[in-house]
Every structure is written in C-alpha cells, then in structure tokens.
Symmetry: C2
Subunit: 417 residues, 2 copies
C-alpha cells in the first residue's frame, strides 16, 4: 500500500533510501521559525485545514478552483483543503478583532494543499510559515514584518550573500497603470503580466502588454528607474536604523501574483546559482473587509515561506545541522536479577526529566552498549552487586570518565554533570 | 463567513466569548506529550493527513466508510482524511522497517477527522497523541507503553486519584469465546457486544449474547473473576518494579472496539464524577502484515489519547496553567528623536534571543506602559538623553528595581538578570 502521490511521510530521521523529508528536519525548521517569531512578539494561531470553498473563490474568483484540493463533503458543502492561510486568518481576525489590541502580530505554520492535475511528480502539500500584522497602516509595520522575514532566514545561518529581499509597491504599479489605462477592471490582468515577465519569453510579454495599450519599453524604464515611493522610503529608513539595509533592495520587477495586495509587496530571493523566491508577501488592506460578513475594515500585511524550498536551499548551502536521535542515559542491564532495580532506576531518571533508554528484553552486553552508542547516549549506567548491595557504575561517554555511586544518587549525579 | 461545522479555530489565547480552544492550550498539551515521549526515548514522526480510502477499509471493512471524512479526488481516487493514525504508521513501518533496529519506539500528534452525519454539534476533528512500539512481542514492551501512558497523564498533574489504567486481554476473551463458540467468524461480533456492555441496557446485551449462544451470567462471572493471563501478570510485575502499580487494575470489562487488537488491551479511565475513557490502546500484532503488500510480519502495540477529552478533564480538575502572552523586554519610546536608536536596540535584543516588543507608532507614555503590562513584560527599557548621550533606563517589573546603563550594555545586562 502506497501513500497518495504528492504527499510526504515524515520518518523521525532522514532515511538513506528516501527523499530528504524527515520529522527531525521539519522540527528543526519549525523551531527556528517559532523562535524568531517569539523574539519579535508574534503569537502562534491555527485554523482548520478544511474551509468552505467560498472562502477562496470570494477573493480570487472561480478560476482558482482548478488549483485547489476541493471536493463536496457528505453534507453537500463545497469545501477545500486550505491552499493558503491568509483567508483563514482574515476570517478569524474579522470574527474576533474586538478582543484584541491593535496591531495584532500573529504567525502560523499550516500545512497547505494544491491539486493541479497537470503537474505530475510535484508535491501537493507543503508547510508554510505565515506571519502577519493586522490593524496598522503605518509603514513601520511593513518594516517590522520585513525585519522578521530577514531574521527568520538569518536564523538558519543564511547571510546577505545568500539572499536579498526585493521590495516593491503595488501602489507604484497601480499609479503607473492608472495614468496610462482608463479601465481599472484590467489592472489585475496587467499585474499578472508583470508578475510573469521574468519567466516569460520577451515576445510573449510584448504581445500581452500591447493588447492592454502598454509598451515593454515604458515598463522596463519604470522598473529600472526604481523610484521608491514614500512608503518604501520609510521602510528603508526603518531597516537602516536596525542595520538590516544590506538585506534589501528596491526592485519593481516584483509585483506578486495574488489579486488582493494593496501596498508594499516583497520577495525573499536566493542569490547566486539557486536564484529563486524563498518567501513573499505584502499588504492586503482590503482582504479582511472582503471576507467578513460585517465588512470590518482592518488593514493587514503578511508573508509566507514554504518548508520545501527553504530545506532545498539549506541543503544546497550545506548548512543543515546533523539530526539524530539523542538519549541522556542508557541503562545497561547485564545481570537479569537486577532488572527490577534497574527498571526502578529507569523510572526515577525519567521522572526527573532525564531521557532514558534500556533494552526491553535480555540482550548481550556488547549489543546493549552498541545500541547506547547508536542513540548518542551521553551516559551509560550499569547496576552491579558489591557486598550484596546494588552499586551504579556511571560512564560519561563524552568526557570518557567513570564513577561508582549509590543508585539513589543517580538523578542528582546526572543532573550535576 | 463561518468556519465549517465541527472544526476549531485556535486563537493564540483563550477568548472570553469563545469555546476554550486556543493555540496556547494546544501547545501546552502537545509540549507535555512531547516532553514525556522524549524522556521515554520515543521519536516523533508524521504522515499525510489524506490517505487512500483502502488503507482504512482493508482492515476495518466497508462499514467504516460511514464514519469517515472521505471523498473522491480530482484524479478519481477514493481518499479519506485520516480517522486514526495506526494504519499510516503500519504502512510507514512496513515500507521502511529494514532501516530500523527493533523495537521501534515512535509517537505522533496527528489531527484526525471523522464525519458522522448524525452527530450534529459534535467535533469532526481532534488531535491525538499516538505512541507505538513496533517489533517486540515481549510483554516488557506492553509495560513500557503503559508506563508511558501513565506518565503522560501524570505530566499534567493528574494522580492515581484522578485516573486508572484498566488492563485487559483480547487473548483471554478469545479463549473464552473459542471454548464456547465453534464459529471464529463471529468473534468480532462478540467483542463488540462486550465493548458496548457498560453503555448498553442489560436486556439488549442479554438478547445479543443469547443470539451467539452465550449467557450474560457466564460473561459477568468471567469478568468478575478477572484472572490475569500470564502476559498481564508480567506487565503487572514490570509496573510494580517501577512503582506504578497503583495506577493500574485488571478489568475485563475492557475489550476495545477496533477489530485489529490481538493481545493486551487497556484504557485510561477518569475516576470520580467524570468517569470516561481518556485514552486507549493495545496490541495489534497482525496489522502491519495486513496493510503491507509484502506481508511483513511485525508485532506492534500502541495507544491514542485525544486533546479534547484531556483538556475537558484538566479544566474540570482545575489544573490548567494560566496561559498568556509573555515578553522579555518592552522598549518604551517616549522621545521620538530617539526612535532610530531605540529600533537598533530592539534589533540587538532580538538578535540575542530576547523577546522584545515596542510601539510601532508614536503613542502616549502611559499607553505604552499599559501595553508592556498586558504582555507580561519582565522589563521595560527607555532611552533618554543625558548630557547629549543616550542612556538606557531599565525597569525590572518583577523585582521592582531600576537601573541606568549604557545602551550597548543592554543585552549583557538583561541576560545577567
């Protein structure tokens, strides 16, 4: 029996015969995201992995359905596994914003799902770090969020040699568009062309732009001028105060594909050979209003960073830590008449918070010791009889030293090391 | 826009107007489960939340489909949101058992899903702590697992006054059945009757037992005799060695509903007014073979404990800790000309792992201080000018003392407290 295509199993540690996904790696990545968020005062939340389909079509239109893992449930509801977290966040914020002082600073690490029939062999799920600030229009919030993004990448050992935050502005692009095109209903179409420009053949872009009455020349000129808006200037000043300015650059090639962005937008981009987007986000001041039935007006901004792209980059840069099982104490039971006493000691050590392993069944002494080494045990303890009393022989496998103690002193002794 | 019925939102902290589910509470429960598992040398894994429907029908038959959150995906596959973790574990273990020394000790905290159309208002998802030992037939493994179960309840402050582990044996029941009924195909039907007996009207049980050729009398007699099998005696001895015997009792009322159990089965049961099962499990020595295409024979045992039932019990016993936002430092910005310097200090503190908050925009001094208190900040720091130099005023809000230091000493100073 096989798992479904596009899904991952997470074995505790990386297996030689499998792809790299392991719980240890996932846990390493999640821990760094959580630790950085904690330092920044972001609080963790979560929502359901399944939502009404309408939550996604209301903001992105019906065309998004082709990419969703959606279905009709037994109660005849149109539902979807969540493809992104922002709509859930907007729903939750709108429902409970009265309970919170603004700005609200929240993060989540949801598993997200997509089902595109055409992309064989590609993953249909990933985990995504989402951080958002709700209820603040000042660009100080944009700067705080970009700083969090920078530091959540630095937390893995990535430096300004490895990545850059490309900062742009939907507002600047909107102004550019409005000056030249009288039909606001075509703005999103225009943004899509800009968003795809770096990956598209020039003649295709030319053609598309022309159909909207734009020339590639004026678009390129606007990008290379890269005149930062007031908002962007403010964000740059804030980041300079924090001495994080080496991590950012103004880059109007960035516009972000999603329809709902309204202000500053940005992408974290891997430099060098691996050139690709690692994370992206921006302001979406109208989304909460669009989602909420009470038309609650809450400015907001956020970013998302996926675990798969990040893990690939860390592996490429060879900055993944060694991940393996670890045990504090391995209790060697060499004399079966002492198993009862040994089990009591196992219990006492574990009660004291010390990770303790032992062989469930009688096993040869060298086999037990080998297992202790495999589990990277810091200590072994072996009970033996001395003048009819049980004595504990403690070996520190790191410091390479040995001590004989009373069994009842074991917890205190191990804690003191 | 509402979330789907039967699903929970997890706001960071419990909201006054909502049901009790909060991320902080969930995180508290998960942390205790993880910490206890770590002490016992169990390693965390995970699988996909969506699996082929066949994974569940193969072992439980088609009748289980009525309870599943199943659907047909866009690739015409019959799939289901996972209703339990054991089949995924069996699939994963069968696929990779060659890579592991036995016994394998693993745990997971999956979100599980059920869809029963009839149960309005009931939750359709919960999180479940699953711990399993794979590859060991000796009852020492059963004892190790039951000890883990006991300690993962003790970790929350529950004592032997609050719960008991009711130990039983599928083997004992199988022997009882086989002696009296010649048709092994009806065994599962018999187990179901025993499983429901405590909740069913006596006359209904009478009727059902009679149809299989049993009398309620002989069943009751067998239960009250409660003669422990050899396996059970062995488990009791092991638990006694660990001084955990006060937490267990032999109770043949327990048989467990699932078809796949083969040996010792058990339930953690809340004592007193709240009488209910908090967790349950047992041996399932044939399941891996049933699931794996290569007919891999791996004995196994495990238990599951849900977050909702546990949280209810902890709330009833009033042993939930106070959960709230916490900040190490709140940086008060009272002089806007010092905002740049303050932002640099925020960055330095966060870089050093110190959780630091500040007001994104100019705000009155008392409003900022109030926010610092709301976030349970340990310290406030305020920069001010003294002879044209910025000086940091640090207030320890717990110890109620105040110090004047150089801003560049702030990290060292806070760390030393």
């Amino acid at each position: 029996m096989e798992r479904l295509p596009g899904f991952r199993d997470f074995y505790p540690e990386p297996l030689p015969s499998k792809d790299a996904s392991s719980f240890d790696l996932r846990n390493y990545i999640f821990s760094k995201w959580r630790e950085t968020s904690r330092r920044y005062g972001f609080r963790e939340y979560d929502g359901p992995p399944l939502e009404p389909l309408d939550l996604y079509t209301r903001k992105s239109g019906e065309e998004i359905v082709g990419q969703l893992y959606n279905f009709t449930d037994k109660g005849d509801r149109a539902v979807s596994l969540r493809p992104e977290m922002t709509p859930t966040l907007a729903r939750m914020a709108a429902a409970s914003e009265r309970n919170y002082k603004k700005p609200i600073k929240w993060f989540a690490i949801p598993q997200l799902f997509r089902y595109e029939r055409t992309q064989k062999g590609r993953l249909r799920e990933h985990f995504q770090f989402n951080a958002d600030i709700i209820g603040e229009t000042d660009p100080a919030a944009d700067a705080e969020l970009v700083a969090l993004l920078i530091d959540s990448l630095r937390a893995f050992g990535l430096t300004s040699d490895d990545f850059v935050i490309r900062l742009s502005s939907r507002n600047a692009w909107q102004e550019f568009f409005t000056k030249r095109c009288p039909d606001p209903s075509r703005a999103y179409e225009f943004y899509q062309i800009i968003d795809k420009m770096e990956r598209e053949k020039p003649e295709v872009t030319d053609e598309k732009l022309k159909s909207l009455g734009f020339s590639t020349g004026e678009v390129k000129e606007f990008i290379s001028a890269g005149e930062p808006t007031e908002e962007l200037q403010s964000v740059l000043r804030h980041l300079k105060s924090r001495k994080l300015d080496a991590f950012v650059q103004i880059d109007y090639n960035i516009i972000r594909g999603l329809a709902y962005y309204t202000g500053i937008v940005f992408e974290a981009f891997a430099k060098g050979a691996s050139m690709r987007a690692i994370a992206g986000g921006g302001r979406y001041d109208n989304l909460v209003k669009m989602i909420s039935d009470d038309k609650i007006n809450l400015p907001a901004l956020g970013f998302g960073m996926g675990d798969v792209v990040l893990a690939d980059l860390l592996a490429e840069k060879k900055i993944l830590p060694k991940l393996q099982a670890q045990t504090d104490v391995f209790l060697l039971i060499e004399d079966e008449t002492l198993r009862d006493k040994s089990l009591l000691l196992v219990q006492q050590l574990r009660d004291a918070g010390i990770a303790t392993e032992y062989s469930l069944t009688p096993a040869k002494s060298d086999k037990q010791f080998k297992r202790a080494l495999e589990l990277s045990s810091r200590f072994t303890i072996r009970l033996h009889l001395k003048e009819n009393r049980a004595i504990a022989l403690v070996k520190d496998l790191v410091q390479q030293k040995q001590s004989e103690i009373q069994p009842e002193e074991a917890v205190t002794f191990i804690r003191a090391q």
